[in-house]
Symmetry: C2
Subunit: 245 residues, 2 copies
């Protein structure tokens, strides 16, 4: 039996999604919760690996056992939440076919990156944003972001040391907007390389601050050299906001 | 010299505004920060006493010394923030006349109370809202809230044991709206009794859940008996959002 769970989590207290030997992870906490509820091991597969500190407004994972869960699907969210800390919430659960894959069946994912652009910081966005006190231009950043749209080789926008060899991804939307003092980068694609959104964000900020130009982004995309792209924005401003199967 | 500071703070880690012997408070932290910066004691006076756990999106206080601060007004926010935890932020500072009083000169204050009305909880609102999983009607609550508007005796909406004797306050706005899964009560007045907004909120929730009627609110206002009003909503959903001098 395979159940698809919709989750939200605040990444602040987690070493990302994936189970680690040392450090609390979201997957690890879910596995523990299911073990406590079902009295047996349950295989939990996520839609994406998120880094330490990254948040998810919408995240999907499957939970799978050889038998049944022993608890009706509709009651799973509250049952699992009772075994989790309050910074993770299972929002809904439904049965899916055995051949459904939480990760490989994803068509598009959307991320948002929140920059607190106030001169002084917003305490409500502490650990939930990147505080950049120098005034940014959302217009300049939005225009620059358009260069990411299309099927491109994002090798320069991947953390150095990553072993992925196919670095082509299709980005369908990339935009920057302002909401009060916050500047928000939103990007949708069929897949993302390691640290890709964070490097895109860091690069767009550098463009707005005059340290890089749109030409530099174009040449980074062309040559695939990580050094040509901008800095990696911190994890804490990044949110997975939507996953489409 | 008297400086008016605009602050924001997340109340989660504070025993409210006012200095206490035991427990970290916002006023206490500000006094410490000023002592560290100016090398002398500075008198800090707030616009309002907020309870333990209550948040402020906008809060004003004055800082006062017999002499000068030794640091220009425009540089105070960043200087003070450097001596505070990140859940408090001084947003701006300006000099005010000696006879300005942060508390007595307040004309109106506006509070918002955030209820997380999702069946499952929103982890991003943990310690920042009251989770009420039963479906609430913002329409019913909004209509009921109108009874609070006007100059009335709010004795029934004051924590029992409070020593205040003049319990008449003027409420100029009281409304309830829905934003997605959140139900938000907003109230503006010339003053508020101890726990008044939290008791108003608890009462409105009970009206929506059919445990109280608008008639009950009317009779609570008439007789001034705390027992006739509803429960006290938890502190963590309450935000001071605007202060007008």
């Amino acid at each position: 039996m395979k159940i698809l769970l919709k989750l939200m989590y605040l990444g602040e207290n987690y070493c990302g999604w994936q189970v680690q030997e040392n450090g609390k992870t979201v997957q690890g906490e879910l596995c523990r919760a299911f073990r406590e509820i079902c009295g047996k091991d349950v295989r939990v597969t996520g839609c994406s690996r998120t880094d330490s500190g990254v948040h998810a407004k919408e995240y999907f994972c499957t939970a799978e056992t050889d038998g049944i869960f022993g608890i009706p699907c509709g009651k799973l969210p509250l049952a699992v939440n009772a075994h989790l800390d309050r910074d993770i919430s299972v929002r809904s659960a439904k049965e899916v076919p055995k051949d459904f894959h939480a990760r490989y069946d994803v068509k598009y994912k959307t991320y948002e990156y929140v920059i607190d652009n106030g001169v002084t910081h917003d305490p409500f966005l502490e650990k939930r944003s990147w505080h950049v006190p120098k005034k940014l231009s959302e217009t300049v950043m939005d225009e620059a972001a358009k260069i990411f749209v299309g099927e491109k080789n994002f090798a320069a926008f991947m953390a150095s040391g990553s072993k992925v060899t196919d670095t082509v991804r299709r980005i369908t939307e990339a935009s920057v907007r302002r909401e009060g003092e916050n500047v928000i980068f939103r990007v949708t694609g069929n897949g993302f390389l390691y640290n890709m959104v964070r490097i895109m964000t860091g690069t767009l900020v550098e463009v707005s601050l005059g340290k890089k130009s749109v030409k530099d982004i174009a040449s980074a995309l062309d040559c695939g050299d990580r050094k040509k792209a901008g800095m990696t924005a911190p994890a804490e401003g990044l949110y997975l906001v939507s996953v489409v199967y």
